[in-house]
């Protein structure tokens, strides 16, 4: 019964989405305020219906209703309850419903918090969001109904893919989805501005906090995905340039460009058409990522690829939404003129270069991800593109970008030449070189080229970001949340850079075959294999190895990696043991049973691994902090007042 209620709620939500889209856009177009008022009940009703539908699906998973095909296909009675809840979005159909539910939640937030915006503008924004919701619900109902029944019901389900049975995975997709869907708000704001034919600095100020919050969720999502790959997939990889990871990285890069371009539009009224285009592109890549991961375009996991109707629908939907927005852009963008000019070395220029480099980086990833797929399907032969392509080509735009951040934070709006800050730029660079080289040569004894460059660039970003805020504190000025947030996010980028370069250039790794009692030496660490015993989990049995680790002869830790055998799916999975610390991570992964008590083991020492996650966390926290700044909650003022006031150097960008 409940699955039918859920499905009925989805159909009602579809109708309400259509209502919301029509009255929002047509109401604003006709200037009919009664029509525009009809949007709000539709938004609220849709949220209630989708919450009900999603609740029904979660209930079916929690109560093991195997007459629902999705539950039978992705869950199992032996699965612990929190994984059964997470299984709701661990599949194509359920994740689509979750996507629309999140969209509806964002829409409610926009409707509730945009009371001070002009009504017609609000109507258009909510109308565009309604179109998106309608498209997704139609797709879900027509091709991927999560509530489809299975007759007769099997006694037990197939179980969730063991790789997905993990805490990181229970929160990674929701975070990403909240981020993806959050970018739809910036997209809707852009479409509304184009429909209206008017885009001013206040528009950018309304859009900024929404975009920054979406960016924060994307950052957390990317980091969690990487973290999950790192400790769950077992071989210690944290970034493999696989299509799924790339599909997440592209929207993040574009969204990073967008928040910087929005800053320029907000402060100086420049880059208007560019900001619009970025908002459209960012959301397009979010859509692409959603569909790429779940539709099986890239990984044909059985039933996904077998349904061509899905592929056709997705393509038509993307063509309509993105094509529609880009058509609007062709028509409206030429009308947007910016009067103000700026010098070559002004802050505007630095942010423009930031945008160009981020877009190049996105293009590099896009080419590497979809290039092989397109070449293969056009019959041009099969290509294999991996780290040897991505690492150098991605660094090409990223290294100059790192340097630009450090110089850019000193630059001034409109005027070039850095002014008095020239000495600070050089000073911070000098300090960074000294600290970076001391760190690399003194502590790690490195001789590779990339290591020192990356570490110096990272340290430089941290130092350069700190100069101005410290200066303001010294002069007794207050630090607004916007400045503090920006500083934290930039420091996070620096910390991340130091962590990634050190870890990648200084990592130690060995694959060894050990008998109980034998040991292997890796740098200053000794790993002693003490033996294997059997352990039982809720839905798996496992071999657990005991590995004692000593640092320079002193006992340090006992690590317990496992090789698990999941009963229902008959899948064997290595569960790595991690010893994390501020200086390095230790990893032990179990390979094969070689007989006579011997096992193949992979041991790794990864220096500064934790700083990768720390950097990402700082970036996300910085983003969150900057959105609580008071200036975003100010009532709408006249645009002219903003343009004439000359923003000073050191204001947040």
């Amino acid at each position: 019964m409940l699955p039918e209620i859920g499905q009925f709620a989805m159909i009602l939500a579809l109708l309400l989405a259509a209502t919301q889209a029509f009255f929002g856009i047509a109401g604003a177009w006709k200037g009919n305020s009664r029509w525009m008022s009809a949007v709000y009940p539709a938004v609220a009703g849709q949220f209630v219906m989708l919450a009900l539908a999603f609740g029904c699906l979660v209930w079916s998973f929690v109560h093991n209703d195997f007459s629902v095909r999705m539950v039978a296909g992705h869950s199992n009675t032996a699965l612990p309850i929190y994984f059964r809840v997470a299984a709701t979005w661990g599949n194509h159909e359920g994740s689509l419903l979750f996507w629309v539910f999140v969209l509806s939640t964002w829409t409610v937030a926009v409707a509730a918090l945009s009371g001070s915006l002009p009504r017609a503008f609000c109507g258009r924004v909510l109308g565009v969001l309604g179109i998106l919701s309608f498209g997704f619900l139609l797709f879900s109902l027509a091709t991927s109904n999560p509530f489809a029944r299975l007759q007769p019901a099997p006694a037990d389900g197939i179980d969730l893919n063991p790789v997905l049975q993990d805490f990181g995975l229970t929160i990674h997709p929701p975070m990403l989805y909240v981020g993806y869907v959050g970018c739809s708000v910036a997209f809707a704001f852009a479409c509304a501005a184009m429909l209206e034919g008017k885009l001013d600095q206040t528009w950018a100020r309304w859009t900024r906090p929404w975009t920054t919050v979406a960016w924060m969720f994307l950052t957390v999502g990317v980091a969690l995905g990487s973290w999950w790959a790192y400790y769950e997939l077992g071989w210690g990889g944290w970034w493999a340039w696989d299509p799924v990871e790339n599909s997440i990285l592209m929207p993040w890069l574009l969204c990073t460009a967008l928040i910087h371009s929005l800053a320029v539009t907000d402060k100086r009224g420049l880059f208007k058409s560019w900001t619009l285009l970025l908002a459209i592109m960012t959301f397009s890549f979010c859509l692409l990522a959603t569909f790429m991961v779940r539709s099986g375009v890239l990984v044909s996991v059985h039933s996904f690829a077998s349904d061509p109707a899905r592929g056709v629908f997705i393509l038509a939907f993307l063509a309509l939404v993105i094509g529609g927005a880009l058509t609007l852009y062709v028509w409206r963008a030429p009308l947007l003129r910016s009067q103000a000019g700026f010098d070559l070395t002004s802050r505007e220029s630095f942010l423009l270069f930031n945008n160009i480099l981020l877009v190049i980086a996105t293009a590099v990833v896009f080419g590497g991800t979809l290039g092989p797929f397109i070449a293969d399907s056009l019959g041009l032969g099969t290509l294999s593109i991996g780290a040897p392509y991505f690492n150098p080509t991605f660094l090409l735009p990223m290294l100059p970008l790192m340097a630009l951040v450090s110089i850019g934070v000193f630059s001034r709006w409109k005027r070039g030449g850095l002014g008095d800050s020239r000495r600070r730029v050089l000073g911070s660079l000098l300090l960074a070189v000294v600290i970076g080289l001391a760190l690399i040569v003194g502590v790690y004894g490195d001789r590779s080229l990339l290591g020192p460059i990356g570490v110096v660039l990272g340290v430089w970003i941290v130092i350069a970001s700190l100069v101005d805020p410290l200066d303001r504190l010294r002069r007794g000025l207050s630090l607004s949340p916007a400045i503090l947030g920006m500083t934290l996010a930039h420091i996070g980028l620096g910390v991340l850079t130091v962590g990634v370069t050190t870890m990648e250039t200084r990592m130690l790794e060995r694959d060894v075959a050990l008998r109980p009692g034998e040991q292997v030496q890796l740098g200053a660490y000794t790993f002693t294999f003490e033996g294997v015993r059997d352990v039982e989990g809720p839905n798996y049995s496992a071999k657990q190895a005991t590995v004692a680790v000593a640092h320079q002869g002193k006992p340090l830790a006992t690590m317990l990696p496992e090789r698990r055998n999941y009963w229902v799916q008959q899948t064997s999975l290595a569960e790595a043991a991690l010893g994390v610390g501020w200086r390095r991570d230790l990893l032990v992964t179990m390979g094969e049973d070689l007989g006579n008590g011997a096992w193949s083991l992979r041991v790794q020492v990864r220096p500064l691994m934790r700083y990768v996650w720390l950097g990402a966390a700082l970036m996300a926290f910085g983003g969150l902090l900057s959105t609580i700044d008071r200036r975003y909650r100010r009532r709408v003022e006249s645009t002219e007042a903003q343009t004439t006031s000359q923003p000073q150097q050191g204001q947040p960008a």
Binding site: A72, I280, S300, P308
Partner: protein, 176 residues
């Protein structure tokens, strides 16, 4: 041309490319198994319904044969069961079931409850034979011609549409 039109042009090109890729995708799925066009792998496996007997691969030579990989643990297999019963009724092919990583009792109960769409069922507890066949899940369905050559493989639940569109034409063409 209006410089603001470039994004739309690039996007349109991408859509066309994806469209072509999508149209070609079903053809590519056929080519996926490296075994297409090769002789069906040899096997000697126990017979599910007469456990004391074994069945060898010579039993499937000489006529059109469908080898369907299934298990009671597989929900998609249940979804395709009705279609398989219809295919057997049609009588154009010998239906062979490869019971994959399953328990014999559960498999026999399943057939008693839902009906038996197979002329012959072999048991592959360990999945050894499945490795020879390049199976990586269930359900998978192979079509083998009278000379013992694999001519088609379909992954995921069989439907009447797939049977008509991908399997029957091959059988009819071969019969001429």
């Amino acid at each position: 041309m209006n410089r603001f039109a470039w994004p739309l042009v690039v996007f349109a090109l991408l859509v066309v490319m994806f469209g072509v890729a999508l149209k070609r995708a079903p053809e590519k799925q056929i080519l996926k198994s490296a075994l297409i066009g090769k002789p069906a792998p040899e096997f000697i496996l126990p017979n599910l319904l007469q456990p004391d007997q074994t069945v060898s691969s010579s039993a499937i030579k000489g006529r059109w044969t469908v080898v369907n990989v299934w298990g009671t643990w597989c929900a998609e297999c249940r979804a395709e069961h009705e279609t398989l019963l219809q295919i057997r009724q049609e009588g154009k092919v010998l239906m062979v079931g490869l019971n994959y990583k399953d328990e014999d009792g559960a498999a026999r109960d399943w057939l008693a409850q839902l009906g038996n769409p197979y002329d012959l069922i072999v048991v592959d507890h360990e999945g050894r034979a499945a490795i020879d066949w390049g199976v990586y899940g269930a359900p998978e369905t192979f079509l083998i011609d009278p000379s013992g050559t694999i001519v088609h493989k379909y992954i995921s639940a069989m439907t009447p549409d797939i049977w008509r569109a991908q399997f029957l034409p091959l059988i009819d063409k071969g019969a001429k």
